[in-house]
Amino acid sequence: ANAQTMAVSIPAADHGWTGGVVYFTNREADALRKAYPNLKIIVKTSPSGADQASAIEDMTSTQKIDALVVLPQNSDELTSTLANVKKKGVFITVVDRGLKDTSIQDLYVAGNNPELGRVAGEYFKKNLPSGDIVVLRGIATVIDDQRVKAFQEAIKGTKIKIIDMQYANWNRDDGFKVMQDFLSKHKKIDAVWCQDDDIAVGVLEAIKQANRTDIKFVVGGAGMKDMIKRVADGDKMIPVDVLYPPGMVATAMNITASNLTGKLPVRGTYILSAPLVTKDNAKEYYFPDSPF
């Protein structure tokens, strides 16, 4: 059999979730190398959209690539670059952040960001008949925007009121800082939606320090192992988590590899749902070895 090459382009590990992406990518790459000895896998990380475009250009111009698995920093920015790669006949798998021009991608493994916001919103709707909540956003990007919009959509028409919203940059320190200030600013907060488990870590620490009892729960997202564990343990503050597994990239690599080696010719769209992790199902989502 002739050797084939699969390139994987993902964001650099610049916060918890992307760290998870890199981890799962490397783990899957090792597994696939074992499973398919003739498959060469190149993994490249990039710190920004422009760098990612550059990295893809570099990989495709200096060697022959048969398939490209890409988790874009920003799908709009990568559209033309990927269109170019496509012209060379490369099989393209896009993960998480879909292209507007869907004809470019052969395979789309969708993480579905709006779904994350919607599922969280539904949970609020069900468990908080009325109340004041605060929202801690991520970094100003499309992903963040989609999540927040969907969340707002989901709680529309309820008596839940978002009384404050700030960026916390998907990191713990900013989560802690912003939450401390929210607590000074608002005497009564019923619940917190922070979209990301890293931010949630900071939020919880700030609430603990302030000894505030008015906050009924905090909902994060992504499925960080510590948070899943707290859900499983029945922590009152973290009743649920909304899964947005960085492992989706592994799924994409796996399907792409099967496709390349001719085992399983597939095209189309796989949409991973953003399931709600509850005390009952938390065990299924707990991977103690993951760095995330």
């Binding site: 590990a13 610049d14 916060h15 918890g16 992307t18 760290g19 998870g20 890199v22 981890y23 956003r137 100003a140 919203m165 700030q166 960026y167 940059n169 998907w170 990191n171 713990r172 320190d173 802690f176 800082k177 912003v178 401390q180 200030d181 929210f182 000074s184 600013k185 890293d198 870590v201 900071g202 620490e205 320090q209 302030a210 510590d226 993951s290 760095p291 995330f292």
Partner: protein, 335 residues
């Protein structure tokens, strides 16, 4: 021995004039306190103010070190990554220990943190002085190195203190207080005291500003440039080490985003405090005020109710510029 040493001038005791430049950051801070109170009455609550000064401890500590480096005409861009790296190694050392947490359990990791940070600073210093490369380049390079090392050590993820017992035991180092003064505040005040003693009352401190104001003059006066300059980077490292020790108990973890952009904040604090970026002057207390000012601005942003979260960065930028303009204007009026 010499004719008529102008006795008139020596007997006229000069009036002691307060150093107005050093009051400027204080004025800016007071202005901000007024603004804060206007924006939200909760701003002046004890809890909020304590939160703010406690939080600014990291940047204040790092910036105190930066005052030495910048005073000597250098620059250190690596401090943020260094914090992350040191925090990671510190937590790993902690996790390697076993048994019930006791003072001893913490002593070793703390020692490791301080020693490692000092070592990182030493590396920065030696490369800069012996390689004769612009410190901008050297520390940009080591910034990349430290950041990569923490990412590598944590496999791209988070390094956390692994037992709740240890976490709870260590917690008071950030959240505790002594007679009502939060521990981090106590730490940075003590460090600032020592630093100002070092800067203003020892030959070493004199040498720092001497090489900052003219390397040639210092060299011709018998000051060992490489030794003094390297030491400023080591002091920067020590300060980072101490900052790390009080950073870790806060969230109990180190991530690839730990300390991101701290270098920029530290330099900003130093400059707001009145130390010139080109070297030759060093205002330790100005730097501390600068760090507090930065944190207060951030706090006011969150407490204000009318600013779109998209525009916060803009307002923050404008406030910094206006605060500097105001202190410059006051300063010019009085002299």
């Amino acid at each position: 021995m010499m004719g008529a040493p102008a006795t008139a001038t020596t007997t006229v005791r000069r009036r002691w004039r307060p150093d107005l430049a050093s009051l400027a950051p204080l004025i800016a801070l007071l202005l901000l306190l007024v603004v804060g109170t206007l924006v939200n009455p909760n701003f002046m609550s004890v809890d909020n103010l304590l939160n703010v000064v406690t939080r600014c401890a990291f940047i204040a500590l790092v910036a105190i070190g930066a005052t030495f480096v910048i005073g000597a005409g250098g620059l250190d861009l690596s401090v943020g990554s260094m914090t992350a790296f040191v925090a990671g190694v510190m937590i790993m050392t902690m996790n390697a220990g076993s048994g019930e947490p006791a003072i001893g359990t913490l002593a070793l990791p703390m020692l490791v943190a301080v020693a490692l940070a000092a070592g990182c600073g030493l590396a920065n210093g030696l490369i800069t002085t012996f390689g004769r490369i612009e410190p901008f380049i050297v520390t940009l390079g080591t910034m990349g190195v430290f950041r990569a090392l923490i990412t590598y050590l944590g496999d791209g993820g988070t390094i956390s203190i692994n037992t709740q017992a240890l976490r709870d035991f260590y917690r008071p180092v950030y959240f505790g207080n002594v007679l009502g003064v939060p521990v981090p505040v106590l730490v940075f005040v003590i460090v600032a005291l020592i630093a100002s003693l070092l800067m203003y009352r020892t030959p070493f401190g004199r040498h720092v500003t001497a090489i900052g104001s003219s390397e040639d003059v210092a060299r011709y006066s018998g000051v060992s440039i490489w030794r003094v300059r390297t030491l400023t980077y080591v002091i920067q490292g020590l300060c980072v080490g101490i900052a790390t020790i009080i950073y870790v108990p806060r969230l109990g973890s180190a991530t690839p985003t730990t300390g991101l952009l701290w270098e920029l904040q530290a330099i900003t604090a130093v400059v707001i405090g009145g130390t010139a970026l080109r070297g030759g002057s060093a205002r330790i207390w100005g730097t501390v005020l600068g760090a507090i000012i930065l944190e207060v601005i951030g706090n006011i942003m969150v407490l204000s109710t009318h600013i779109s979260e998209y525009l916060i960065g803009a307002v923050q930028g404008i406030i910094i510029i206006v605060a500097m303009l105001a202190q410059r204007a006051l300063h010019r009026r009085q002299t």
